[in-house]
């Protein structure tokens, strides 16, 4: 894609996202569906920062997603009923955990790395599941809700107003995506691509590969925990299932569906996933097999995902 086309594509995406609450009802959706797409797209794009651009697969991102969710929930419920502080706590919790865990695991590769990310995820899952008194156990963390944000000159009622919540999510999404895009354009981002393409050669060039992977991991988990906080706010609920490895698997599916190698790929993937899930589950109880089937077909015939189809056409 030429530079002009790419800028045009970016502009189109932002335009669509900015106006989504207004055209979404018209096509049969509803605003909180749009918020949900954005949150999961953020999670998938954060995962893809690590998977598609650094070439490292993690099946344990849900752990930090869940940490963010529980962070904001626990803060609002027990500490201080303030949404922004809750988000900050959730993000910090997820990032600190990721930093510590990342330092331990970054020397592993391939399936070992993926499995150890699952291991940590499962440990967090069982803690959330068993620590009934604090986390509500299997029932999840309920009994709290989004608190309208008091900005001094105005109050943003994210509790009652779906559109307000959507725009809060969009702002967070924009910040996160902007940072990720800037990083990927920078020399740091180029180095990550080099590591993805040929790790050994990168090492021979003197690049401290482990440290780069660790940084990529931390950045990725930071934004995934942000997505987690937004997800919990969206639902007024934090679920231990958000921490399980199959939730991580969902993020991977979204990233691959949309296209791992494209920046906006996971956004498309998340949109497809959420819409399919929403639409099919209202028709039949067996939406899982449809998504599974769709995914299998994509892996077999369109490994570059939906975006890959566009890129192939553009290349001709």
């Amino acid at each position: 894609m030429t530079t002009i086309n790419k800028r045009g594509a970016d502009a189109a995406v932002w335009l669509l996202l900015l106006t989504m609450p207004y055209w979404l009802n018209w096509v049969g959706g509803y605003t909180s569906l749009g918020s949900r797409v954005l949150v999961l797209a953020l999670a998938a794009m954060s995962l893809n920062f690590l998977l598609g651009f650094t070439g490292v697969l993690s099946f344990g991102h849900a752990a930090y997603f869940g940490l963010g969710a529980y962070g904001v929930g626990l803060t609002i419920k027990y500490l201080v009923p303030n949404t922004l502080i809750g988000i900050a706590v959730g993000v910090i919790a997820g990032t600190v955990a990721a930093t510590a865990i990342g330092a331990l695991i970054v020397r592993l590769r391939g399936i070992y790395f993926a499995m150890v990310t699952i291991a940590f995820g499962q440990v967090f899952y069982f803690i959330a599941y068993r620590w009934n008194s604090v986390t509500g156990g299997d029932d999840g963390l309920s009994g709290w809700q989004r608190v309208p944000i008091d900005l001094g000159f105005t109050t943003v009622d994210i509790l009652g107003n779906d559109k307000a919540l959507y725009f809060l999510v969009l702002v967070c999404f924009a910040v996160a995506v902007g940072v990720m895009a800037a990083l990927l354009r920078s020399p740091f981002g180029r180095t990550l691509l080099a590591i993805r393409e040929n790790e050994r050669r990168a090492r021979f060039l003197g690049i401290p590969v482990d440290r780069h992977i660790w940084l990529s991991w931390v950045i990725s988990c930071l934004f995934v925990s942000l997505a987690g906080t937004l997800y919990a706010l969206l639902n007024n609920f934090a679920d231990p299932h958000d921490l399980r490895w199959d939730q991580s698997g969902d993020f991977v599916i979204m990233a691959v569906l949309g296209g791992m190698r494209a920046f906006w790929g996971p956004l498309i993937g998340a949109a497809i996933f959420v819409v399919l899930q929403d639409y099919i589950s209202s028709e039949t109880a067996n939406w899982m097999s449809f998504i599974g089937l769709f995914f299998v077909l994509v892996v077999l015939f369109f490994p570059r995902g939906v975006f890959g189809i566009f890129q192939r056409r553009a290349a001709r």
């Binding site: 069982f126 199959d246 899982m288």
Partner: protein, 288 residues
């Protein structure tokens, strides 16, 4: 206290034997084809449900004999159609494919047999305890252990005494050379996959008797199998066996002291193994 500990230890060994059976099938497939079969649990579920369906016609023993074979047949088809196209590509894709396949299999069983837990009837004489003092030694658990031992011996015999087994072992070491020597590696991988799935189906029939039959039975059991392989070491079948037994026992013993941590402990052990000795207890260096 000792009684309780003994009970849980024994229970743990039995569960561990069962994990080992499932993990062995996974390990077989992984070692030869390099495919991380996330759908293994799904095949386990299919084996269990097929046995359930066949039981009214051919009884428990008939189902035990036939269901794993049918499941293996399904495995052969799946390998030929879905997995073979992906051998040339990045191993990530076969992992993703089996992940999607797991969804399909789990939901498929839910669609065909319904989401409710189904009763799985094991022969009456198997479910009674064998003695009054050692009450936990029910016939069924003993039978499970016996069957796992038989399966492991059978697998060992196939791998070491048959031509197919020899080729599988050789392929695990160097598939390309095996191919150059004139062996049809496509069929070899296909049959190996079928063998692995046979073990999954067998484990499924056993699991149904022990845990009850529901669509999620596969996804519940797939993770401990991976953990067993990682702990035992990739590339080593005895390692997988050991890993399975170890996590079973660890889980059982933890249930005595910290009941709420008994599920999490296997992941803690896996994490420790990966950090201290990544190749696993009996694994070979540099496998991945």
């Amino acid at each position: 206290m000792t009684q309780l500990l003994l009970f849980n230890l024994f229970n743990g060994l039995i569960i561990g034997a069962f994990y080992a059976l499932m993990a062995l099938g996974l390990s077989l497939i992984l070692n030869l084809s390099g495919v991380i079969n996330f759908a293994h649990g799904g095949f386990l579920a299919i084996g269990a449900y097929l046995a359930y369906t066949l039981m009214p016609y051919i009884g428990f023993w008939g189902a035990l004999a036939v269901a794993p074979v049918l499941t293996a047949g399904l495995g052969l088809v799946v390998e030929r159609v879905l997995i073979r196209p992906l051998y040339g590509r990045d191993p990530l894709y076969s992992l993703l494919l089996t992940f999607g396949l797991a969804f399909i299999l789990e939901d498929g069983t839910r669609y065909i047999w319904g989401p409710a837990t189904l009763p799985f009837a094991i022969p009456g004489w198997l479910s009674s305890p064998l003695s009054n003092t050692l009450f936990f030694l029910t016939g069924y658990r003993m039978f499970m252990v016996a069957l796992v031992i038989a399966a492991v011996i059978g697998l060992f015999l196939i791998l070491n005494r048959t031509r197919l087994g020899m080729r599988i072992r050789a392929g695990t070491l160097d598939l390309e050379t095996v191919s150059v020597l004139g062996i049809n590696t496509r069929i070899l991988r296909n049959l190996n996959f079928g063998l692995g799935i046979y073990l999954a189906g067998l484990a499924g029939v056993l699991a149904a008797g022990m845990l009850g039959l529901q669509p999620t039975i596969g996804s519940t059991l797939i993770m401990p199998s991976f953990v067993a392989i990682i702990i035992g070491g990739l590339g080593s079948l005895p390692g997988t066996l050991l890993g399975g037994l170890l996590i079973g026992v660890a889980s059982g013993v933890t249930a005595v002291f910290f009941p709420s941590a008994s599920e999490a402990v296997i992941y803690v052990i896996m994490g420790l193994v990966l950090l201290v000795r990544p190749r696993g207890l009996l694994g070979e260096e540099g496998r991945f």
